[in-house]
């Protein structure tokens, strides 16, 4: 397009010069953080963060640490994929952690075995009748839990015009209550072998990566993705252009709820037990991953790739603190500071773009 090398007003324009993608900045931040931990480790601990230092293992990198990092972010990462879509439309979802709680309880109760070590299962909720069900049953029941919760979120936000913050806060409290009510506060354990297989080994990572790829394509190549960005960018314009904004919002929150439910299934399967307190604060971790990954809280900007990188940064920082043998208290505090810093950075970035 050489004939368009002059913009309006006759300004010269270089078509090769493009804006640096946000994801590249996030990636550089990830590299920087790893390097900092590596340096601190070498100087103060005499150990390496990234590389293998044990003689009895023959690998270049410290594979154990790396796999722990991705494993521990993958479950919250699944939630963050949904939260990313919500934030891109200009909303927020505070209910995902509680949806994890209630879904884990409900799904687990449909996944119990009748016999444990030759004894009848003491935690049975439904009695013998609903035990040893095929794995599809707890999986689907769990997903439907999240789907319904997400649908209610979306319907409240779209049709009653309650701010997303309030609607999902209500769901956060309600779903947590439901999780406790379900088994009168007792944990539910002893899932079938099939169910426990879902979250074993590196399965959570595979599920996270597959879903990340899927939703990357959905957000980039489909009408759904395009409309998410359009609504987050300018909701009034989206309405005027004829986009069914309300229906779209319901769909977005429903998908987010369903992803939280899937995370719950994976988590309860991995832990072989479900408790009402499962997933507490996951919503904030998921939001943090998205925000660190460059998803703007004011909507319209960010990508799934950004969130995946944000999740990795999140995991590296947690793991780095363990590596430096710092107390868990510091981790919590630093987590909080990082979230605020990421949002401040986004605000600052936005202000620098505002024109007169």
């Amino acid at each position: 397009m050489t004939e368009a090398s002059h913009g309006l007003g006759g300004l010269k324009y270089d078509p090769r010069k493009k804006e640096r993608p946000q994801e590249l900045n996030v990636f550089l931040a990830l590299v920087l953080i790893v390097v900092v931990f590596e340096l601190i480790g070498r100087v103060f601990m005499g150990d390496s963060f990234l590389f293998n230092t044990r003689d009895n293992v023959d690998t270049l990198f410290n594979n154990q640490r790396l796999s722990i990092i991705i494993l521990q972010v993958s479950i919250v990462g699944i939630i963050a994929l949904g939260v990313t879509q919500v934030i891109i439309t200009g909303g927020i979802d505070l209910s995902s952690g509680s949806i994890v709680g209630v879904t884990a309880m409900v799904a687990m109760s449909f996944a119990q075995t009748a016999m444990v070590n030759g004894n009848p299962n003491p935690k049975a909720i439904f009695g013998e009748g609903l035990m040893d069900l095929p794995v599809l049953v707890p999986l689907l029941v769990g997903l439907v839990c999240g789907l319904v919760a997400g649908f209610i979120n979306g319907a409240l936000i779209a049709y009653t015009r309650i701010p997303p913050f309030i609607a999902t806060l209500g769901m956060m409290v309600t779903a947590r209550g439901a999780a406790k009510w379900w088994s009168k506060g007792n944990p539910i354990s002893f899932p079938t072998e099939q169910y426990s297989a879902i979250g074993q080994g590196m399965n959570p990572v595979l599920i996270f990566v597959a879903l990340a790829l899927l939703f990357h394509c959905v957000m980039t190549y489909t009408r759904y993705g395009k409309h998410c960005y359009a609504i987050g960018s300018n909701e009034a314009a989206a309405r005027m252009s004829g986009i069914n904004v309300n229906a779209h919002k319901v769909l977005v929150y429903t998908i987010a709820g369903t992803l939280a439910a899937l995370a719950a299934v994976v988590l309860s399967s991995k832990n072989l037990t479900a408790q009402a307190g499962m997933g507490v604060m996951y919503e904030l971790d998921a939001i943090a991953m998205a925000v660190i990954g460059g998803i703007s809280l004011s909507g319209g900007r960010g990508s799934i790739l950004g969130t995946v990188l944000g999740a990795l940064i999140f995991g590296v920082i947690i793991s780095g603190f363990t590596f430096l043998k710092l107390d868990a208290y510091y981790q919590e505090m630093v987590k909080g500071i990082i979230i605020v810093a990421a949002v401040v950075l986004d605000q600052w970035r936005q202000r620098s773009r505002v024109r007169g």
């Binding site: 309006l8 489909t222 009408r223 960018s233 009034a236 314009a237 252009s241 986009i243 773009r353 024109r355």
Partner: protein, 253 residues
Amino acid sequence: MDDIVLETRGLTKRYGGVHALEDADFILRKGEHVAVVGDNGAGKSTFVRQITAVEQKSAGQILLDGREVNFAGPLEAREAGIETVFQTLALADDLDVPSNLFLGRELFRFRLGPFSILDRKQMRERTLEALKTTAVKIPNVDNPIRNMSGGQRQCVAIARTAAFASKLVIMDEPTAALGVQETAQVENIIRGLKDRGVPLILISHNLRQVFDLVDRIVVFRRGRIVASLRKDETDGNDIVSYITGVKGVAEVA
């Protein structure tokens, strides 16, 4: 009387106690270009928002091709062939030019409900075509439009309208943010619509432009239509006296 494209009868809009538009009787004939003028807050944009169903009218009728229409939303108005450049432009800043041009009516390679796969290549090509026919110059259509100047953004909105126009085009102050050259371009686009026989409602504060472009001028004052005058039976001073209320209620065509 079957050459009437758009007619409103007693069109009324109230925002709570504010009577933004009252009893508007308006007629637009085939191929006719009509200007709507009036002071700030006279109700011009409100009039547009009722016709395009961005808002729901409080009372009155809207007839398209002689048949009464009750659009539930802007998409229905667009599907009926009414294209609009809103005063607020209605663009999504974070999307690129093709996405904005096709916002709400994307082209698909593969239909799958909400998850239909976009045909990005064809949308991009047709965008370049549309921009070419409208002589609008955009340096790089693949950039988000947030980085473009006010005039370029306005050109995108106008290109969108001109490219899809079928039955009727409405432009709410389309040259408000434009420089001299760009204003001339937009005026050429409007003349192109005239040649194609596409009727137009043009809202403008620029009387020179109005007299240059349209056949008839409708004056709004305090939510009411106070005059509807053929261009050759009036002049600038006459129009101004209607706008400012020096002249009162006049014959309405």
